[in-house]
Symmetry: C2
Amino acid sequence: MNPELLQWFIPIAGLLAVGFAFYLARDVLSRDTGTKEMMEVSATIQEGAVAFIKRQYMTIGLLALAGAVIITVIISLLETASVADTSHVGIDIGIRTGGAFLIGAACSMACGIIGMLVSVRANVRVASAARRSLVEAVQVAMRGGAVSGFLVVALSLLGVWSIFAINGGLAGGDSTKDAPFLIVGYGFGASFVALFAQLGGGIYTKAADVGSDLVGKVEAGIPEDDPRNAGVIADLVGDNVGDCAGRGADLFESTAAENIGAMILGVGVYAVALKAGWSNPTAWIFFPLVIRAFGLVSTIVAMFFIRGKETENPMNILNRGYWVTTILSAISLAFVTSVMMNTGTTHGDNGIATWVYFFGCGVVGLATSIAFVYITQYYTAGSFRPVREIAEASKTGPATNIISGMAVGFETTAVTAVTIGAALLASNWLGAHSGLGSVGGIFGTAVATMGMLMTTAYVLAMDTFGPITDNAGGIAEFSRAEAGARDITDRLDAVGNTTKALTKGYAIASASLAAFLLFSAYIDKVNLILARQIEAGTRSAADGLMTSVNLANVNVFVAALIAAMLVYFFSSLAIRAVGTTAQAIIVEVRRQFREIPGIMDYTGRPDYARVVDITTRAALKEMMLPGIVAVATPIAVGLLLGYQAVAGMLMVGTIAGVLLATVLNNGGGAWDNAKKYIESGHLLDDNGNVLGKKTDAHAAAVVGDTVGDPFKDTAGPSLHVLVKLLATITLVMAPLFIR
Amino acid sequence: MNPELLQWFIPIAGLLAVGFAFYLARDVLSRDTGTKEMMEVSATIQEGAVAFIKRQYMTIGLLALAGAVIITVIISLLETASVADTSHVGIDIGIRTGGAFLIGAACSMACGIIGMLVSVRANVRVASAARRSLVEAVQVAMRGGAVSGFLVVALSLLGVWSIFAINGGLAGGDSTKDAPFLIVGYGFGASFVALFAQLGGGIYTKAADVGSDLVGKVEAGIPEDDPRNAGVIADLVGDNVGDCAGRGADLFESTAAENIGAMILGVGVYAVALKAGWSNPTAWIFFPLVIRAFGLVSTIVAMFFIRGKETENPMNILNRGYWVTTILSAISLAFVTSVMMNTGTTHGDNGIATWVYFFGCGVVGLATSIAFVYITQYYTAGSFRPVREIAEASKTGPATNIISGMAVGFETTAVTAVTIGAALLASNWLGAHSGLGSVGGIFGTAVATMGMLMTTAYVLAMDTFGPITDNAGGIAEFSRAEAGARDITDRLDAVGNTTKALTKGYAIASASLAAFLLFSAYIDKVNLILARQIEAGTRSAADGLMTSVNLANVNVFVAALIAAMLVYFFSSLAIRAVGTTAQAIIVEVRRQFREIPGIMDYTGRPDYARVVDITTRAALKEMMLPGIVAVATPIAVGLLLGYQAVAGMLMVGTIAGVLLATVLNNGGGAWDNAKKYIESGHLLDDNGNVLGKKTDAHAAAVVGDTVGDPFKDTAGPSLHVLVKLLATITLVMAPLFIR
């Protein structure tokens, strides 16, 4: 089969997935919207969500516009013929980069907006379906979630492909070889939006959660999610804002960054292929996009396997689809590698064909994805040791609960680091023995990343399943639906908690692999520039290329120290922002209790919209400082300490960020589920009596849960984005750091 | 002046300081021992401390013996002529290294034992002095603490100098040049003991604290430090065990490691000096030890400046001595650099003499030390924003207290990293422009480290001041001393909390600088071995030397990832060990309440010794797993991923360890002082009423304080040691990692 044919599969699969997303959206919207009460609540949530979206994306859009202008100017001025890595220089490359940045930003925003609009409409339909059937409710929630999932991956793919095409990527030869370097602006745009979407959303959702709990449950003594509390709708809106829009932007960026990084590495293999005379050397550059296209189609097929019995654990129904996606991905991986990696008479070690080695790399990636799914489950599900340990520690009060939770959070880094390390070493080893020479190892790690990200659309659908079912439960509660429906939404909500945690583990692993790719791409780019300067005589040949990122160099060491510090400092700002924003909610709800007559006896309606508006504004204000710190630090380090130091910052920042995010995400998840474990009556005292709700142990567990909230839903996920932002920002700004 | 004369100042100052320590000890022991009740309590604490020392140092001694045997065997087998970095090979070098290891271990243990024996005798004398005079109490406590301080620095100096002399370091020429490589075993021995002393002591002290609080205050409802609680004596013993013996071993290792690392770097300068024909090239190798000797003498002088008024803040009295030490150190630094760094006609940039640049480096080090003293104060003292913020957050319960404390802990990394980074960059810049060529930069950072560590003896004396005054307060309370005495011990105790926190900041900064030195020494050592192998033909010349620690190499990246993970995992084990040990105490105290008649009405005496014994045994058992993980991980990584990867592990492990320790130490300190802030009545509600003890806000702050305990006194300080252990272990085991 001609590999060039497969290249056309990229836009086809992308458009197919977009079409499928619209089909799913129509299907979801056509469902029954439940009782009048349900519709009322849902409408209020929608209203709040739309208000948030408008303000949030207006702000982010303006920031992105300003960013695009600044980037265009900087690149136009800096990327002169002597430092450019392609034949495009000056204003030409400036506008190309700024334009790509804007398109990346726009696509990311579009995914977030459409995904959220569908998910806030799906919630009431899930609540309605829960009155009839568990399986139907699972299907509606999953299809609603899949709209986001497909849009994110498909738009990321189509975006990269289109800019690649615009920049002459389809013309073949040198034009194709240069194009990957021209699309890095797209990745930067995606990171930029992801940073603010995740930060703003994360701050909003947890401030609403903590603030309305403190002012309602603690101060006024009314139940959680009580309609008299004006902060409750903000809380329900927050679930969509943080988990749905935030994580969508996060993984949009992962796939975009990975596509770009892998294509740049593909250029290295292209040179090898050209020299060796293999047929279709450009196939190596297209390979990452083709793999992604097949991943999308595998996921479309898997959507039809989401079915099961009414009595079944809903998690099993979702797992069925996940395994179908994984198996189909593995099969298509074998097909694509065997077609596109035709190395003629060259073979890997032991006479095994080159493509077999890379198929192995892809399988390593798929296996890593599966490993993270189970690791996260072990550390955050009530059936295993860690959560039980925290629940037991709650017996002696909040202090021991917190200590135990921190110990568990710290512990989770071990298996995370070992898994990522093993995946890198294994795929690097396979690539190095594939017969591709020195570029093989790093390209092997790229293929592993591609393999891992083949299932992104499905994982994202499972993630968005979380806020949809969470909201469905809230709607059922709020509208006082029948017990049967509430029982089903409760079961779905518990599953949703697990899937949200899984996605974070998946996002973190993919962030670290994507950052490693972009790091290699950064080195390639710096060396292209250095080579040009040496050739042009503006740099002494004795200076040589960047052959290593030398930690023994004091500048690199200091940059690494700053990078590791940055992840703590950034998290500190994000966590503190939640507290400040929550204060704004508390003040407003208190005012409403005081000034609006009849709230307490249900005769007066609280002003939900005002709380949503105040929270939105406060969250957007508070996201600025951590956002600016994240963008400014790598640029400042690059300017002060040079291009090699930035590379050190990138690597060590990735390591530190991934591990701290693991601590925060898993620690938070474990605290959350330790509380649920106690609420479900699993904790017993020395005499075998159940220690359930309203005991001291439960109160201690609630403290842990509250502490974990900003950890796992604000700081942790924002760190994923920070790690990738470090990579894209340095890649785009590289000429700035070379003197 | 002839620099060789200054070399003889090393043993003289060392012996002088040892003599001075004995003079101080005699002086302290000659003081009045207070009332009969005071003597009784003190005797019980002494008894417990001696029991702990016996068991703890027996265990550590056996571990050290086993370690020495293993090291001797490994080095004898590995360090054959083809890989040795000196002319000593095989059994010869094996026995030399094993012997140095044992001497290092023995010196460290001797410091810990003598220091603790003096400090548990000083406590009652301070309590007695407090009945008469504040200034006298400060002097007794500070002199008791200085016994540890002087012994630690002097024995470290004499030990390094003696082994250096035994290995021919005084013979001049090549013999002097080789000797520094033969003493690395001493540093490893010191690290090894420090690891277990700090871990065992840290686990013991916090388990006793948390365990006796939970079983006494929470369960039985009796006050803290109540004599009916059998765990209270264990708690008082614990203060000495953790802060005194633990931190002593920690800084013993810092100074030993820094001496060795700086001497190895001095060998590089020696080569430059020899080639340039400067007089006394060996002076560069002796320089680190001479500087240390002058630091000791400066501190001896400063001890006589610890005086002040009865009405004065005791912190001012201590600061007076610190500033005298610093100023005398700066003066002697100028003297020593000008005498020993005679570069003949060679000058640094701008015609400034070479020694002036290095004097500048030393001043950078002294300034770093001062900076850390004030940074720690800002973040952990009640007069500044961070602690107040945590106290305010306590108003809304334990969850917000914890969130706020974590945010503060995370935030403290920023100024820590920037200060260390600035010190490294500045001293590297000064060194690079000093006229020493390419070795100048790294030697500049070495001189900065020396400058910083000149004040170690004084800082350690202030640190041990902490447990002594803490115990004095406990004794006054326990023996129901008059209010005036208790008032004075309370004031001293508050100062002691600050000095303990300061020492941790100081220890962390010195750990990072010492690790950076040892890292450079490691690279030198590896290259010596590689050069020999290439010369001998057992290694291809094309492989070349290790010119960089390349983060872009996948093995290095994975090792760095493992290193950053190790600091979390190790902390998790240490924190968990505290919980397990505390459980053992709770079970035993409960048993005593139940089985010993008359405890509650003071007619029966609890069995304090048994609790001490049980805690000791449990702590020693629990320190094994984290200890083994710390020792085994770098060796495993070196064996699997090679010598370059280990270097990456070292650097990134240092960065990650220093930052996590900063988070844990400062977060813990801030929580502790937020509680004290509330107890002193500084927290007001919205109407201006004091929220003091027994309010909900205070209860919330107690939760934070308890969470902080294992952070700041077990995991944090153990991380300092881990960082340096990584360095010494890889330096000694280097031949193992080269294949």
